[in-house]
């Protein structure tokens, strides 16, 4: 029983962080139909920038986190300016290929600046063990869950209540029609990429806080795919639920069936989902009027 609760909590934490990374991914897909292969690198950048702020510049973690978010937003805007804007009007597949290039580029920049050695991360969130129902879990993990929940709530509010959020969904639906009502597609893309980079940075910081920084953090980006396919590429609740399901699944499989299998189980799920429900649990079906 203890093991079960332990695994559940571990799974929920990983799931919450996965969900955060997936949120940014979904946001970009929702507003521009682009699959962002550089999402994992956004996590990486977030983790390393925060690392630099804390270790190299000795800043307090609150200031460090705020500056990290500023950098992340800057990266998002720069990506829009330098990568996406020249590709407006080109086929989506070109943009997707460009994000693959972007991922290599960002990874190279990170390893040029900070090297390839994994490093310990000064825990900025208290990781004092907490006892819940007989299981022991670090407080940092609970924090990760709480932060993810708050982000979900804010995102949902943003998309259904705010003008910018509705405009973002409008652009996803029909770019030209959105332009005809004065919605600036460029601004919307910049918004989407900035928010995506910022949430990924928070995700990266949370992961780094638990496992330390290293180039393999970008691998988290790959694990986003099962999450978003399961939840539906364009669904924010889907990203959250998908993240939690995949996180739990990996934890249970790792705990009960043995390590190693947990790495592949999510991709097995991905294939099954693609076969039975290709638009995911919460994804939009294509509306066809007859």
């Amino acid at each position: 029983m203890d093991l079960f609760i332990q695994l559940t909590l571990t799974g929920l934490t990983n799931g919450a962080i996965l969900a955060l990374a997936a949120l940014g991914f979904v946001l970009i897909y929702k507003s521009s139909d682009v699959i962002n292969f550089a999402q994992g690198e956004f996590l990486l950048i977030g983790a390393y920038v925060l690392f630099a702020m804390l270790v190299q510049f000795h800043l307090h973690w609150t200031i460090g986190l705020i500056l990290t978010l500023v950098v992340a937003v800057g990266v998002g805007v720069a990506v829009e300016r330098l990568v996406l804007r020249p590709l407006i009007g080109e086929p989506i597949i070109s943009v997707i290929m460009a994000t693959i290039g972007l991922s290599s580029l960002l990874r190279a920049i990170v390893s040029t600046i900070w090297g390839n050695q994994p490093r310990a991360f000064p825990p900025f969130i208290p990781s004092k063990p907490v006892h819940i129902l007989g299981a022991t879990v670090g407080a940092d993990r609970l924090w990760a869950i709480a932060i993810a929940v708050v982000m979900l709530f804010l995102f949902n509010l943003f998309f259904t209540r705010s003008k910018e959020g509705i405009a973002m969904r409008a652009v996803a639906d029909d770019q030209q029609a959105a332009m005809s009502m004065g919605i600036s597609v460029k601004h919307i893309f910049a918004w989407a990429w900035s928010i995506a980079a910022a949430t990924a940075a928070i995700g990266g910081a949370l992961v780094a806080n638990i496992v330390g920084v290293g180039p393999e953090l970008a691998g988290f980006g790959l694990r986003v795919f099962p999450v978003v396919i399961l939840g539906g590429l364009d669904s924010i609740p889907g990203a959250i639920v998908g993240g939690l399901i995949i996180g739990l699944l990996e934890a249970y499989v790792g705990g009960y069936l043995g390590m190693g299998l947990n790495q592949v189980i999510s991709f097995i799920v991905l294939i099954i989902i693609l076969m039975v429900r290709p638009y995911g649990l919460f994804g939009q079906e294509i509306i066809e009027r007859v």
Partner: protein, 263 residues
């Protein structure tokens, strides 16, 4: 208010679509723009609203002025902010958004307006949208989608509304209803309307002035009364032949008959 002067539009740097298009849209009026497929009607609207760019089109000659200011090749969002709103052909509602969200998206450029009051105003013109305000727009009927498209434009409180074939694919009764509402909007909100249509009959009913376009330029213009009397318009656009005249096989072969405006 809105005037086009000898406008030339080229797509992809080679395809000349508008070949010296000139027209005048006076304030508070409904101006009709008629023409067959491929005449350049939609291109004219896109040249005005700035939507040519994403399609690789460009105004290469002539000028488009709105309230005295040149607006050709400006960004669409600037043009919408100046008060010109295009309702695109084929309705183009945001399918996955609800009716109300569609309307809110239409008000995107409004600053400091009262969205709730604007929504109510749109619902007075289109009560059917109010009944369905929570519904996903993709599942509306064609007529309701067209109403939504016009309602979306109303939310922006434009000075000029460019309507691109609002009758497309709708039943005649619905078309009549939508035209009546357009007329009401023009009278009650004082919105100037440039109406692009293939349905000549209805357009000449509601318009104050109309232009006929062919092959990238205006070939004929006048008040609806004048145009209805014009023999070519009667034959090619209204499908009427001159009454009392003896019908001969030559009349039936209308494709052989030269339009008088072609030189």
């Amino acid at each position: 208010m809105l005037s086009l002067n000898n406008v030339e539009v080229i797509y992809n740097k080679v395809i000349l679509v508008l070949k010296g298009m000139s027209m005048e849209v006076p304030k508070g009026k409904i101006v009709g723009l008629l023409g067959a497929n491929g005449a350049g009607k939609t291109t004219t609207l896109k040249a005005i609203s700035g939507l040519l760019k994403p399609e690789d089109g460009e105004v290469t000659d002539g000028s488009i002025t709105f309230m005295g200011k040149p607006i050709h090749n400006h960004e669409p969002e600037e043009i919408v902010r100046m008060g010109i709103f295009q309702v695109m052909e084929g309705r183009r509602v945001f399918e996955h958004l609800t009716v109300e969200e569609n309307l809110i998206a239409g008000a995107y450029t409004r600053r400091g307006g009262n969205t709730q009051a604007d929504l109510e105003m749109v619902y007075t013109y289109f009560p059917r949208l109010k009944e369905r305000y929570k519904q996903t727009a993709g599942y509306l009927s064609g007529g309701e989608q067209q109403m939504l498209a016009i309602g979306r434009a109303l939310m922006a409180h434009p000075k000029v509304m460019l309507l691109d074939e609002p009758s497309l694919g709708l039943a005649p009764l619905l078309v009549q209803e939508i035209f009546n509402i357009v007329q009401r909007i023009n009278q009650e909100q004082g919105t100037t309307i440039l109406l692009v249509e293939q349905n000549a009959n209805l357009t000449l009913q509601v318009a104050d002035y109309a232009y006929i376009m062919e092959n990238g330029r205006i070939v004929l213009e006048g008040t609806p009364e004048e145009l209805k009397e014009n023999a070519d318009v009667r034959e090619f656009y209204l499908g009427l032949t001159e009454v009392g005249k003896r019908k001969s096989y030559r009349d039936v072969k209308h494709y052989k008959r030269r339009k008088r405006w072609l030189s």
